[in-house]
């Protein structure tokens, strides 16, 4: 199964590179064929995956010794990647007037690298994939971005490489110590507390940059603002999630004692981010920048879900919080994709980003305004959406650790609602600006917006199907993350 995935990733890239650049119709057919294959692959994955079995499935060992497998966490990320890439590729055909072929080659290359990162159990391959994404994203940014794209590209390069510098050193050192790069060997490492701390800090820095968690978030608003719409969708929905996944796979289970020691600091910074960034997001005048800060605000929930279990509570609470972290990441992937996809549709019709220049879009784009409100509610974690499920699980478990912390977190939810509803009101309601002509959506746009909304609502009302595989895996990884090895 994994071999098929990797083969699909490889051929999608290579096939796109071989297409003649002037034949847009051929490119469009190729993109749709790949989208159908991606859908089929994700259905196969879901069908063949045993949800009640925690741990790794679809084990595959490549000829050069690297281990590949999927568990209850990575399978959802892989499916998210396949869906989002397909959607973005189809939309690229509408949004990219020049250099479509090159644009798509970069898109599929990033998809391939992300899939490799999610499927591999080899630390070196994960590092390789994580760093290899930086250059294609840079070309995407600088080739098709906005006016200040060069500065944004440089920022992306610097943050990306410097962020993962420590991780490269840590991986090189630990790989040498254990004479192995495999996950199972690394989680069995019984390192001293000092060694664990050094490793944990190095990896956490990289993951915080990747996730755009406070205080390593400064690159995201510039990159999102200048990036083309396709890049924003993929970045927000998939690429950023590599940070959370990397933490879950290569950070916490390898150095749990260090994670326990540093947990109060991470929780504190996440709570601060929850409280402060709601206000920072509220004052943004640029719609895309607002959504970028909203992503940063949302990431704080993930950090809290990963680190609060170290502060106390029952084992079952820790498992539920692990589930919550996964749910929040996946749900954010869907809702952020919806938000940026919608923005892309608006931007390519109106060609402006300033919120003040918008108004009354509900009358000129009624279909879009309907689906947009679902993404707004999802981001604000309203009941009925998948985001609510994750936030609710987290809050309920946090109450047993500290009711004061739960109270603060619950209050911060109001911040999300505030800026999201404010943006919606300014852009979609009020007097019409920019002409009264109705700009309805194309069939593909309607299809994607509907599918995303249906997914958010379906899993929001019926999360059981989604939670089964995640919960089984949380039970499996719980001993590794919260075990007592190296306890101070």
């Amino acid at each position: 199964m994994i071999f098929s995935l990797l083969l699909y990733a490889f051929f999608s890239c290579v096939g796109c590179a071989c297409l003649p650049p002037k034949k847009r119709l051929w490119i469009r057919y190729w993109v749709w064929v790949l989208a159908i294959v991606a859908l089929y692959l994700s259905w196969l994955l879901w069908d063949m995956f045993d949800e009640d079995l925690g741990g790794f499935q679809f084990d595959y060992q490549s000829s050069w010794g690297s281990d590949w497998a999927l568990d209850g966490y990575s399978i959802w990320f892989v499916m998210l990647t396949l869906w989002m890439t397909s959607m973005t590729a189809v939309m690229a055909e509408e949004w990219v007037p020049k250099g479509l072929k090159e644009h798509l080659v970069l898109l599929y290359l990033i998809q391939a690298l992300v899939l490799v990162a999610f499927c591999t159990l080899n630390a070196f391959v994960f590092l390789l994939a994580l760093q290899a994404i930086i250059l294609p994203m840079y070309f995407w940014l600088v080739g098709w971005g906005g006016e200040a794209r060069r500065d944004a590209g440089t920022l992306w390069l610097i943050y990306g490489f410097m962020g993962s510098l420590g991780m490269s050193l840590a991986f090189a050192w630990l790989g040498r110590e254990l004479d192995s790069f495999l996950w199972l060997d690394w989680v069995s490492w019984q390192g001293s507390l000092q060694a664990q701390q050094a490793y944990f800090i190095a990896v956490s820095l990289a993951m915080m940059v990747q996730l755009a968690a406070v205080p390593c978030h400064l690159w995201l608003p510039s990159v999102h603002t200048q990036a083309p719409s396709t890049a924003s969708v993929l970045l927000a929905s998939v690429v950023l999630k590599l940070g959370g996944y990397g933490w879950l796979r290569w950070g916490l289970p390898v150095a749990p004692a260090a994670a326990r020691l540093w947990a109060p600091i991470f929780v504190g910074s996440a709570v601060l981010a929850l409280l402060v960034f709601a206000f920072i997001t509220l004052v943004q005048k640029d719609m895309k920048r607002l959504m970028a800060y909203a992503s940063i605000h949302h990431v704080a929930w993930v950090v809290l879900a990963l680190f609060i279990p170290y502060l106390g509570g029952l084992p079952m609470d820790a498992v539920v919080m692990l589930d919550a972290a996964m749910v929040i990441m996946f749900a954010d992937g869907l809702s952020a994709a919806g938000l940026f996809l919608s923005f892309g549709m608006i931007y390519h019709r109106m060609h402006r980003r300033e919120i003040a220049l918008y108004g009354g879009l509900a009358s000129t784009m009624p279909f879009l305004s309907f689906w947009f409100v679902i993404y707004v509610f999802a981001h604000a974690a309203w009941p009925g959406t998948l985001n609510f499920v994750g936030v609710w699980m987290l809050l309920m478990s946090t109450i047993r650790v500290s009711w004061k912390l739960a109270l603060v977190m619950g209050t911060a939810l109001m911040g999300s609602a505030a800026y999201m509803l404010w943006m919606y009101r300014c852009v979609f309601w009020g007097p019409v600006r920019g002409g009264r002509k109705v700009m309805e959506l194309r069939l593909a746009e309607m299809l994607f917006l509907s599918l995303l909304s249906v997914a958010i609502l379906f899993f929001g009302f019926y999360p059981r199907r989604f939670l089964r595989s995640i919960h089984s895996n949380s039970l499996y990884v719980y001993p590794y993350l919260y075990a007592s090895k190296g306890r101070p």
């Binding site: 440089t154 390069l157 410097m162 490269s168 090189a172 040498r176």
Partner: protein, 440 residues
């Protein structure tokens, strides 16, 4: 004895008549390529590391020749002296590889250095040539003197002219280590003795730069492998010296490269900065470290040749490209896909970005670092590479994103295809980067 046929080839080349005529040019090229291939054939079969060195050096000469023949044809110049100098360099390199005593080793090194000086005279290019040649002569002389003094110290210490197998620790050997490293820094263009490289690069023609940028460095890296018992005698001193040189090279090289937009000077300083990784590999003080230094140079050599091949075959207003902004027309050049792939690959390798081979070798060096001090030095190397990202990304930006004003023409489409083949090789090298040390 077979290697002396190179000298015969050299004499034949010098004796050939005016190569502006077609027949004479073909004869010169035939003599050159036959001599090189014969040398590769004759020298191969030694231990794997040396056999690969033979392939690498021979391959570089062949590539230099390929670049040179179209370059000389375009500008109607004499290739004989250039080809003859390359054969002399190969002869000297062979001496270094197979030398059993210090005299043979020293003669080999001198021949490599003199061959480069010889090649500078192929095309008198204003006053730049004289400045360039004079600088090179002075630097070469100082470096050679330092190596000679170092060799004398070792010979006095071991009481033998043969290359050392086991060297006792003593003040004389410590002095020899210091002098050797100093000479290596000068010859390899490593900080703080690297400032002459920019002038040499600017004054040299692209075909010469192809070999010049790498041959001397490759020779010295292999020389270090051959005489490594000297450094093991004073392992800690060697580690500190190499580490300090590496750090200064990275810092000075990268920041100086950042300040330039003139391509030759930028790449000269960038090349010096890259040599910091060779010094870091040396500072590891193990056999594997020395092998990694050689592996790094192989990877760098290939990347360098891709760059030189591209630069030699691109022209702006009937002259070679000089400024970074002149790359701006690359996206409108014919066969731009080939050019872009080659450019991205060679810049990617020099940047040390995965999945290219440059990342794998550096990672292997970090894995070999066996102390916190060495890991910190490696961290400095990675950190200063952040500066490298800035100027390499500027090159890519100008080449690929700016589409107006400058018009770049491609002189000879065979050149870019050679570059593409090389870049495919580079990517292939990175297929199994964990074992790149063992590959050497």
């Amino acid at each position: 004895m077979m290697k002396y046929l190179l000298l015969v080839g050299m004499i034949v080349l010098m004796a050939l008549d005016d190569p502006r005529g077609r027949t004479a040019r073909w004869m010169a090229e035939a003599v050159f390529f036959c001599a090189v291939f014969f040398w590769i054939y004759a020298m191969g079969g030694a231990e794997p590391l040396l056999a690969r060195a033979v392939w690498m050096a021979g391959g570089m000469m062949v590539l230099s020749g390929v670049i040179a023949r179209s370059w000389f044809k375009e500008y109607h110049l004499m290739p004989n002296f250039f080809f003859a100098s390359q054969l002399l360099a190969l002869f000297g390199f062979g001496n270094v590889l197979l030398a059993r005593d210090w005299i043979e080793l020293y003669v080999g090194l001198e021949l490599v250095s003199w061959s480069m000086l010889f090649a500078l005279w192929v095309r008198p290019r204003d006053s730049l040539l004289w400045d360039c040649a004079f600088k090179y002569l002075m630097i070469h002389a100082v470096g050679s003197l330092l190596l000679l003094l170092s060799a004398c110290a070792i010979v006095l210490s071991t009481q033998s002219l043969l290359l050392p197998v086991d060297v006792p620790s003593s003040a004389l050997v410590a002095t020899a280590v210091l002098l050797w490293l100093w000479g290596a820094c000068i010859k390899m263009g490593v900080a703080p003795t690297h400032l002459y490289m920019a002038d040499i690069y600017e004054g040299s023609q692209p075909p010469l730069l192809g070999a010049f940028g790498v041959m001397t460095r490759l020779t010295w890296v292999l020389l270090a492998w051959r005489v490594r018992p000297i450094f093991y005698a004073h392992a800690e001193l060697w580690m500190w010296l190499c580490a300090m040189c590496a750090v200064s090279t990275w810092v000075l090289g990268h920041f100086q490269a950042l300040a330039h937009t003139r391509l030759a000077r930028l790449m000269a300083y960038a090349g010096s900065a890259q040599m910091g990784w060779v010094l870091f590999a040396w500072s590891l003080g193990t056999d594997h470290g020395f092998r990694l230094a050689i592996a790094f140079l192989y990877v760098y050599a290939l990347a360098w040749f891709v760059w030189i091949t591209l630069m030699a075959h691109l022209s702006y207003q009937h002259r070679e490209l000089r400024w970074m902004e002149e790359l701006s027309g690359l996206m409108q050049a014919p066969r731009r896909a080939v050019l872009i792939v080659a450019l991205i690959t060679c810049i990617g390798v020099m940047m040390g970005v995965p999945p290219f081979a440059g990342f794998g070798v550096r990672f292997a060096m970090l894995m070999e670092a066996h102390s916190p001090f060495l890991l910190s030095v490696g961290a400095v190397g990675m950190l200063t590479h952040g500066v490298a990202l800035l100027y390499y990304s500027k090159i890519l930006y100008h080449a690929m994103m700016r589409m107006h004003y400058y018009e770049v023409t491609v002189l000879d489409l065979r050149g870019p295809y050679v570059a593409l083949l090389l870049s495919v090789g580079l990517v292939a090298l990175s297929y199994d980067p964990c074992y790149v040390g063992g590959w050497v």
